[in-house]
C-alpha cells in the first residue's frame, strides 16, 4: 500500500514539474523607435542637438506634451517659426552671455536642463494676471506666450522672455545655495503675496522693489532684482531709481548689493559684467548674424 502511495507521489511530482514550462523572454518588451531621417523638423532638431544638447546639456522642448503643463490652465503649443527664432535669440542673449561671463561649463553644470516653450500664457482671468514663465525642480524652465513674441521689439523680448529666464534661473541658483537671510529682513512688512498685482510700478519702486511682482514675497524680490538689473538699459534703471525716491532708492541699492555679493561669492558671477554683456549684445543685435547661427526655417 505504502509503495503505491510513493509511486503516486512520484508521478504527481513529475506532473507538477512538467506542467511548469520556462517562459522565453525577449530582450525588451518595448519596440525600438525608428528614426525618421526625413522628419519635417529634422534640421531644426539637429541644430538644437548641436547648440543646446551637446553644448549646454539642455533639452529644448518645443513640441508640447500636455502632460508637461499645469492641468489647471488651457495652453497651446508654440509655432515652429517662433520656436526657431527664440532658440537662436536665447543662445545669443542668454546662454552665450553666461558662457562669456561665468566661463564655459558654468551653464552646462548649473543651468536648467530642460527649456520648455508654450505658445500661450497661463491666464488667471479672475486675478487679471498671466504667468509668463516658471521654474520647476531646479532644472526645468517653462517659457510662455511665445506665439505673441514680437521679434522686432528687444525691450518686449527682454521684459517677457529673457528677464523671465534670468528670473527663473536665479530661482534655480538659490534653490542650491540659499540667499542671505538678511535680504528678507530689509522691508518685510511691505511684501503682499495677494495684492501685489494691484501695485503700480512706481508704487513698488517707492517701496524699494524693482517690480510689483518683486513685492509679492522675498524670493521673488531677490530674483527680480537680479533679473531686472541684468536686462534693463542704464536709462531705464536710472529712471526707476529716480522715481523710487529717497526711501525706495536706497533700499533697492541695498538689495542689489546683496545680490551682487551673493552671486560673486557663491557662484563667481560678476553681476555688473552680466549687465554690461547683455547691453553690449542688445546694442549690436544683428538678426542676420543671429539667424546664421544655424538652421532657420522660413517663418
Amino acid at each position: 500500500m505504502k509503495r503505491i502511495h510513493y509511486i503516486c507521489l512520484i508521478a504527481l511530482i513529475a506532473v507538477g514539474f512538467t506542467s511548469c514550462k520556462q517562459d522565453e523572454f525577449t530582450d525588451t518588451i518595448f519596440v525600438d523607435p525608428v528614426e525618421d531621417t526625413e522628419a519635417y523638423t529634422k534640421e531644426f532638431d539637429q541644430w538644437l542637438k548641436v547648440h543646446y544638447t551637446d553644448k549646454y546639456n539642455v533639452e529644448f522642448l518645443y513640441k508640447l506634451d500636455d502632460n508637461g503643463t499645469d492641468p489647471n490652465f488651457n495652453v497651446v503649443p508654440v509655432s515652429l517659426g517662433k520656436a526657431d527664432t527664440l532658440a537662436h535669440l536665447a543662445l545669443y542673449l542668454w546662454y552665450d552671455v553666461y558662457d562669456s561671463v561665468a566661463g564655459p561649463g558654468f551653464i552646462k553644470e548649473n543651468g536648467p536642463k530642460i527649456i520648455q516653450l508654450i505658445g500661450s500664457a497661463m491666464i488667471m482671468a479672475s486675478q487679471h494676471t498671466e504667468k509668463l514663465g516658471y521654474a520647476e525642480g531646479g532644472n526645468k524652465i517653462t517659457l510662455l506666450k511665445i506665439n505673441r513674441m514680437e521679434t522686432n521689439n528687444i525691450d518686449q523680448l527682454n521684459e517677457y522672455i529673457f528677464k523671465t529666464m534670468h528670473h527663473e534661473f536665479s530661482h534655480i541658483l538659490h534653490q542650491q545655495k540659499v540667499y542671505p537671510k538678511e535680504f528678507s529682513q530689509i522691508n518685510p512688512e511691505d511684501y503682499d503675496p495677494n495684492r501685489w498685482q494691484d501695485r503700480a510700478d512706481t508704487t513698488a519702486w517707492q517701496l524699494g522693489f524693482v517690480s510689483p511682482y518683486g513685492s509679492s514675497q522675498t524670493r521673488e524680490d531677490f530674483v527680480e532684482t537680479i533679473a531686472n538689473y541684468i536686462v534693463k538699459h542704464d536709462t531705464a534703471w536710472n529712471y526707476m531709481m529716480e522715481k523710487a525716491g529717497p526711501v525706495g532708492g536706497p533700499i533697492i541699492n541695498q538689495k542689489l548689493d546683496m545680490c551682487r555679493t551673493w552671486l560673486a561669492d557663491k557662484w563667481g558671477i560678476d553681476l555688473d559684467a552680466m549687465h554690461a554683456e547683455v547691453q553690449k549684445r542688445q546694442n549690436n543685435l544683428d538678426w542676420d548674424m543671429i539667424m546664421s547661427l544655424g538652421f532657420l526655417d522660413e517663418e
Partner: protein, 445 residues
C-alpha cells in the same frame, strides 16, 4: 499519519512552485498591442491621399465645424477651414506645424506645434478658456473609412472621413457655405418641427444648434458639410433609429434624414409671413429691392425716386425694421417694440434717415402694413418732413409725398418666399392682395 502530512506538504510545495500559466486574453503583450495601435493609427492617418474631412465639435454644447486635414508621413500637417468663428468666413490654411502619435492612456494624436487652424479652438485667448477645444486627442477608432477622436482635456469630439481624391479644398468650403447660406445664415430664431412618424417636436435654430429647451439642456449641435447636415454624436432619436444626417429636399421646404431606415424630417414651423415677422423680432431688417418690383410698384417707386432727385437729393434705401422702445410714465417703464420704416436718403444734411412708425398686422399668410405717424425720435420728425417734401415735389407738398409712400408700402399683402425655399426665407415677395402688380421684393439684411 506523520507521513501523510509530509506527503501533503510535498504536494503543496511542488504545485505552489509551479505557478499556473494564466491564459492571456490577448496574444500579444500590452506594449506590443500599443505599438500596433500606434502604427495602425499612423498608417491610417497618412494614407488618405487628399486628406480627411474632420467634423470638429469643440464641446458638446456648441456648433461643430469642418476642418480639412492632411497628415504627412514625416510629421507635417496641413489643415484648412472656413467658418464664422475662427476664420471670419474666409478660407484659411496652415501647413507649418507638426503632428505625432504618442502612447498615453491609449494612442494619442497630438498636434504638438501651433497650427493657426487647428489650435484656434484650443487657444485660451484672453479669458483663459477660448472655445475650450483640444489639441491632444484619444484615438477611439482608426480605420481607412473612419477615424474618431476625443479631446484628452475637454472632450472635443471629432469624426474624420477620407476626402474624395478630386475634391478641391476651397471648393469643399464653397459647398459648405452654399448649404450654410441656404439653411442657417441670418436664420437665428427660425422655428422648425422635427417630425418622425406621428411624433412632432418643436425646435428652434440658434448659433449652430437646434434647441428644444435651452434651460433643460435639450439641444442638438450640428455641423454643415457639402450637401449634408450632420448632428453631434448620435443625433436625435427617431422612428427607425438615430437621425444624424440630413439633406435639403428639392423644393427646399424640408430637411430630410438620409440615414437608412430612419424616418425623420425638419419642416419649418412658421409660414413665410410668420418668418417675415420672426426675423423682424430678431432684429433682421427687410430691404426693398430696387429693381425686382411689380409694374404698379415700379411706377410709384420711380415717381418717388425722380421727385427726390429733382429736389437735388437721392433715395438710397427703404427698410422695414422693428426696434425696442421704452415708454416712461409716472408709474412704470414699459419696454415695447415698434415697427417702422427706415428711409435713407441724401438730403440737405447729407445721408439722412427718416423714420415712420408703422402698424404691422399679421395673418397666417398675409400682412397688413399701415402708416401711423412720423417717429418722435429727436431729429427724426424733421428728417421725415424733409423726405416727404422731397418725395412730394417740394416744400408744402408733403401730403403728396406721404400719399406716394403709402401707395408704395402700405396695404394688404400676401407673403411668399422669393426663392421658393421655406427653410430660411432670405428673400420674400409681398404682393398686393387685390393687385398682383403691386409687388415688392424684400431682402433680409
Amino acid at each position: 499519519m506523520k507521513n501523510s502530512y509530509i506527503i501533503l506538504l510535498a504536494f503543496a510545495l511542488v504545485f505552489a512552485a509551479c505557478s499556473r500559466d494564466e491564459e492571456s486574453l490577448f496574444e500579444q503583450s500590452a506594449a506590443q498591442r500599443i505599438e500596433y495601435a500606434l502604427n495602425n493609427a499612423t498608417d491610417v492617418l497618412t494614407h488618405a491621399e487628399n486628406g480627411w474631412e474632420m467634423l470638429y465639435f469643440p464641446n458638446p454644447v456648441s456648433a461643430g465645424y469642418t476642418v480639412l486635414i492632411k497628415f504627412d508621413e514625416h510629421g507635417q500637417v496641413l489643415a484648412a477651414s472656413r467658418n464664422p468663428q475662427t476664420t471670419k468666413n474666409s478660407y484659411k490654411e496652415d501647413n507649418k506645424s507638426t503632428w505625432a502619435i504618442r502612447a498615453d492612456y491609449g494612442p494619442i494624436l497630438s498636434f504638438d506645434t501651433y497650427n493657426e487652424v487647428i489650435h484656434a479652438w484650443a487657444d485660451p485667448q484672453d479669458d483663459g478658456d477660448g472655445y475650450l477645444g483640444d489639441y491632444e486627442f484619444l484615438i477611439l477608432e482608426a480605420t481607412p473609412q473612419k477615424v474618431r477622436l476625443k479631446g484628452k482635456k475637454h472632450g472635443a469630439y471629432c469624426e474624420l472621413y477620407p476626402l474624395g481624391k478630386d475634391v478641391s479644398w476651397t471648393g469643399y468650403f464653397d459647398e459648405v457655405y452654399k448649404l450654410r447660406d441656404l439653411v442657417v445664415t441670418k436664420n437665428d430664431g427660425a422655428e422648425f418641427n422635427f417630425v418622425s412618424g406621428s411624433d412632432t417636436q418643436h425646435m428652434y435654430y440658434s448659433g449652430g444648434i437646434m434647441i428644444v429647451n435651452i434651460e433643460e439642456g435639450i439641444i442638438y449641435p450640428f455641423v454643415i458639410r457639402p450637401n449634408v447636415i450632420t448632428f453631434y454624436n448620435k443625433g436625435m432619436e427617431a422612428q427607425g433609429g438615430n437621425a444624424i444626417n440630413f439633406k435639403v429636399n428639392d423644393t427646399q421646404t424640408a430637411l430630410i434624414c438620409t440615414d437608412s431606415g430612419v424616418n425623420a424630417q425638419f419642416v419649418p414651423a412658421l409660414t413665410i409671413a410668420e418668418i417675415l415677422n420672426s426675423k423682424l423680432d430678431h432684429r433682421v431688417q427687410w430691404i426693398i429691392n430696387k429693381t425686382d418690383m411689380g409694374s404698379a410698384s415700379k411706377t410709384t417707386y420711380n415717381t418717388i425716386v425722380n421727385a427726390v432727385k429733382a429736389s437735388g437729393g437721392s433715395l438710397s434705401n427703404i427698410k422695414l425694421q422693428r426696434v425696442d422702445s421704452v415708454k416712461i410714465d409716472d408709474i412704470d417703464t414699459i419696454d415695447y417694440k415698434v415697427d417702422r420704416l427706415n428711409i435713407e436718403f441724401n438730403g440737405s444734411n447729407g445721408l439722412t434717415q427718416a423714420f415712420f412708425i408703422m402698424d404691422f398686422k399679421l395673418n397666417e399668410t398675409s400682412l397688413t402694413y399701415s402708416y401711423k405717424y412720423p417717429s418722435g425720435e429727436p431729429g427724426a420728425e424733421a428728417a421725415a418732413l424733409e423726405f416727404l417734401q422731397r418725395a412730394g415735389g417740394g416744400p408744402g407738398k408733403e401730403a403728396i409725398g406721404l400719399q406716394r409712400l403709402k401707395e408704395l408700402i402700405t396695404g394688404s399683402f400676401n407673403v411668399t418666399s422669393a426663392s421658393g425655399s421655406t427653410l430660411n426665407a432670405q428673400e420674400l415677395y409681398i404682393t398686393g392682395t387685390n393687385d398682383s402688380n403691386k409687388r415688392l421684393k424684400l431682402t433680409a439684411r
